[in-house]
Symmetry: none
Amino acid sequence: MFRINPQSGVPMYLQLIEQVRHAIEAGALRPGDQLPGMRRLAEQLVMNPNTVAKAYREMEHAGLIALRHGAGAFVAETTAGNRRAVREGRASVKRTVAALRAQGLDDGAIRRLFESELAETGGEVRRK
Amino acid sequence: MFRINPQSGVPMYLQLIEQVRHAIEAGALRPGDQLPGMRRLAEQLVMNPNTVAKAYREMEHAGLIALRHGAGAFVAETTAGNRRAVREGRASVKRTVAALRAQGLDDGAIRRLFESELAETGGEVRRK
Amino acid sequence: MFRINPQSGVPMYLQLIEQVRHAIEAGALRPGDQLPGMRRLAEQLVMNPNTVAKAYREMEHAGLIALRHGAGAFVAETTAGNRRAVREGRASVKRTVAALRAQGLDDGAIRRLFESELAETGGEVRRK
Amino acid sequence: MFRINPQSGVPMYLQLIEQVRHAIEAGALRPGDQLPGMRRLAEQLVMNPNTVAKAYREMEHAGLIALRHGAGAFVAETTAGNRRAVREGRASVKRTVAALRAQGLDDGAIRRLFESELAETGGEVRRK
DNA sequence: GTGGTCTAGACCACG
DNA sequence: GTGGTCTAGACCACA
């Protein structure tokens, strides 16, 4: 369900958090849903359980999920977000990325293009 | 010219490298152009000169730039890349991002959207 | 400066957090003050650096301290609290505890007495 | 009769033990008195019966209570302790805590205050 | 079996 | 030297 790249320079636990966040935004994970157990997920993603635990703890702090001792991790009920916008946006992103790929750009170049655009047009600062 | 976010979790020196790489791809920096001095850049970006130095060293190692002792850092002549594709791609990325922003998505949600797309469609693994 | 008891059943990192919080409340640590380095403190308290790191991270989350990469940990400026009440309260607590000790009560009995009183009179729930 | 806080970081079974111990010290529970049934208590305190069972087992091990198979749990006859000192101490603790509350201190601050006092003046180490 | 704490120790990023 | 990430693996608390 998730794909982590240990070589990207982005901490693995952050990658996991972003992907869970996206899964929630996109509706793949819904409030109340149980997340995979830490150990099981660690095994799937070929990483250490402690690393998964760190991601889960941070997500709990962020109010994204709730950890119930002995019971598991669950998507928080308060998770709102604009799921509609995210789901609708997927199509245009898909088209744009496909076009860029067709022109011979690799992942890195595409990523830099998007990041550059975000940096230029965003009043927002990129945060943890 | 560059914008680094120390809080993003992505190493600052990597952010700088990616932005230089993009500037070259996009034509903002051309072969032979001189890069800002390390100390000056460090001051501008509010970071330690050692961190800038590390980024420059890595870029030299990658063949992106050439460090001429006592003279400064210059964009390498050998820098190929598909500049045309990058420049042409900017417009569509700009349109896509603007549309997503208009739907109320913030930087994070947009980033997660294209990262998700890259991960799903990319045969390529994201590398350092 | 701090005293941790590994056998108490209360997690060591929580004990450390409470003691730092108290030091701030009591004025022993003031906004802007630098905390001991994680490794150094770990050595002093005879615990693992990772355990200290966990305490520091939680305190950062709680807004108690700020962690500056490569620079150290510092007491947050926003730390208000009612220092006066805490400092003035110390005397009465000191007297009460001394009296209880004189009557032959041990730490456990004294603690249970206070906790019982807090539970009975507190509208507040004891939180992490 | 008892109040457990699952969020405090202190193990629930330890909280329960301490509260039973206090009830005995304070005379609320007298030698020979029957303790609530494990299942009933678990329900009241919103916790798993196994957790209550663990607390009861530990208390039996500590000689605090006796478990009579099929009959229930009873406060041990041998329970000594200085009940008089505890009962007499309640008044001064009540006064002290009330004063601290009046000064605006919350449960946490009060707890840190007496824990700090216990740590400073106690030759005793806090044990399980 | 699930989350939580702790240890020991390696390597990286930043100042 | 300071904080930060990751691994490997033990043991505890709770359901």
